[in-house]
C-alpha cells in the first residue's frame, strides 16, 4: 500500500496511534507522531512511498513530539526521538516537518557507514549518474530540483551514497529541500512541482520541501553508474561555464565533501580514487537554470 492509498485521516490517525512503517528505499522507518504538520507533509510529499501498519523489522524507530518537562508549557517546541532518545535539541513547533526530514537524514547517514557518503545531490540519465557535491549554499539543491523536473531522475538532493564494493550509486529519493529564494525560483521554473508548506525562521532561513517527481520513488532500487562529478557554483548574471577539473583536485573535493571518509580508511581512499578515475570532473558556474539544463543535456548526450 502506498501513502497515496491512505486517506489523510487514516494516515494521521495511524501515525498518532501505533505508528506507520514507511519504506524509504532500502530503509523501513517506523514513524509515530501526532503533529498534523508532519502528517500533512508525509501525506503530500511521500505519496509514492510504500506505507504499512505492520512490518517485522524497522531500521529506524522515529517519533516526533513535544519535549518533556516545563518547557512545553511556555514555548511550543518539537523534539525528534530516535529509538526514544533525542539526538538533537528541540526546534520550534512550526518546523516539525523540516525536523522530520533532517532527522531522517541523520538516521540514514549515521547508520550507513559502510558506504562512502558525500554531501551532495545526485541525479541520473540513461543509467549514468551525475554527482553534484557541495557545501550548503553552493546551489546544488536548486540545480538538482531543476534537473529532476527536466527528465533527470532524482537519486538524492543531499546524500550521495557510493557503495564501496561495486562503486554504484545507491538511490535514496526523498523530498528535495529548498531554501529561501530557491523556493520561488523552482516554483516558477517548474509550476507542476509540488512544494510543501514552508517552515520559516529555521537556522537555514525559510525551508520548503519538493515532492520527488513521479517515477523516481518506484525506481529507487535501480542503481546508477557514476559518470560525472560537477561542482556547481551559482554566480549572479554569469554565463554558463563548464571547466574541466584535474582529477587530484576532484579527489580532494570529494574527500572534503564526504560525511564519513575518515571512517572508511584506505577503503574510502580506494573507493574515492576509483570513483574519480571513472568520472569526467568539472567545475560549473551558472546563473540561469535554462542554461544549466542545456549544459547538462549536452553532458548526457556526450555519454551515449
Amino acid at each position: 500500500m502506498k501513502v497515496s492509498d491512505w486517506s489523510y485521516r487514516d494516515l494521521a490517525g495511524a501515525m498518532a496511534g501505533d505508528g506507520v512503517f514507511l519504506h524509504l528505499g532500502p530503509f523501513v522507518t517506523h514513524l509515530r507522531c501526532a503533529i498534523p504538520l508532519v502528517a500533512e507533509g508525509v501525506h503530500a510529499l511521500y505519496a509514492d512511498y510504500r506505507c504499512e501498519r505492520q512490518a517485522a523489522f524497522a531500521d529506524f524507530r522515529v517519533r516526533l513530539g513535544p519535549p518533556r518537562g516545563v518547557r512545553r508549557w511556555y514555548r511550543s517546541q518539537v523534539l525528534f526521538y530516535f529509538d526514544d532518545w533525542p539526538p538533537f535539541k528541540p526546534l520550534p513547533y512550526n518546523q516539525a516537518f523540516a525536523m522530520f526530514e533532517w532527522g531522517m537524514n541523520w538516521c540514514i547517514t549515521s547508520h550507513s557507514q559502510q558506504h562512502l557518503m558525500l554531501h551532495g545531490a545526485v541525479v541520473e540519465k540513461n543509467g549514468w549518474g551525475a554527482m553534484l557535491p557541495g557545501p550548503p549554499g553552493s546551489g546544488k539543491s536548486t540545480l538538482c530540483a531543476a534537473l529532476v523536473n527536466r527528465g533527470w531522475r532524482l537519486l538524492s538532493d543531499e546524500l550521495t551514497v557510493v557503495r564501496t564494493d561495486d562503486l554504484l550509486l545507491q538511490p535514496l529519493p526523498r523530498p528535495v529541500s529548498l531554501k529561501n529564494r530557491s523556493i520561488e525560483i523552482i516554483a516558477e521554473f517548474a509550476p507542476e512541482a509540488k512544494i510543501g508548506t514552508p517552515a520559516r525562521d529555521t537556522d537555514k532561513g525559510t525551508v520548503a520541501h519538493m515532492k520527488p517527481p513521479p517515477g523516481c520513488v518506484e525506481q529507487a532500487d535501480q542503481l546508477a553508474t557514476p559518470a560525472w562529478l560537477v561542482l556547481p557554483k551559482y554566480i549572479g548574471s554569469a554565463p554558463p561555464v563548464l571547466t574541466p577539473l584535474a582529477k587530484g583536485d576532484a579527489l580532494m573535493q570529494a574527500v572534503d565533501n564526504a560525511f564519513n571518509y575518515s571512517v572508511l580508511g584506505v577503503r574510502g581512499f580506494d573507493a574515492a580514487a576509483q570513483l574519480i578515475d571513472g568520472c569526467d570532473c568539472y567545475r560549473f558556474s551558472y546563473s540561469s537554470l535554462d542554461d544549466a539544463m542545456r549544459v547538462f543535456a549536452e553532458l548526457a548526450d556526450g555519454s551515449q
Binding site: A246, K247, G248, D249, G265, V266, F269, A273
Partner: protein, 109 residues
Amino acid sequence: MIDVPSRSDERVADAAAGERWMLVGGFELHERRWDDQYAVFHAGSGDTHLLNHTGIEALRMLQRQPMTIDEVAEKLSPQWVHGSAQEVRQFVAELIQAFDRLGLIEPVT
C-alpha cells in the same frame, strides 16, 4: 601543492641541527597518480594529501632511509626544483616541516 606553513614552529630548530628524518614507521602509504598530481593516503592518520613530483620524490626518499635536510636537497631532481642551493635547502626545510606537521615523518633518534 603542499601546504607550506609560513609560521615557524619549535621543530625548525631541530631540523637545522642536522637531524635525520624518516617516514613514521608501521603505517602504509597508498598512492594514486594523475599526471603531476599524486594523491597519498596515510594509513595512520587516515589523511589524504595531494603532492606534486617534488613532494612525492622527497617523501619516497624518506620512506627508504633516514635523511637530513641537506641530503634530501642534494638528491632532489634538478628538473623539478629551480634556484640556488640555499633556496633549494630552504624549500626542503619547509617541506620537511610540513611533512612533520602532517604526521608523515618524524625525527630519528
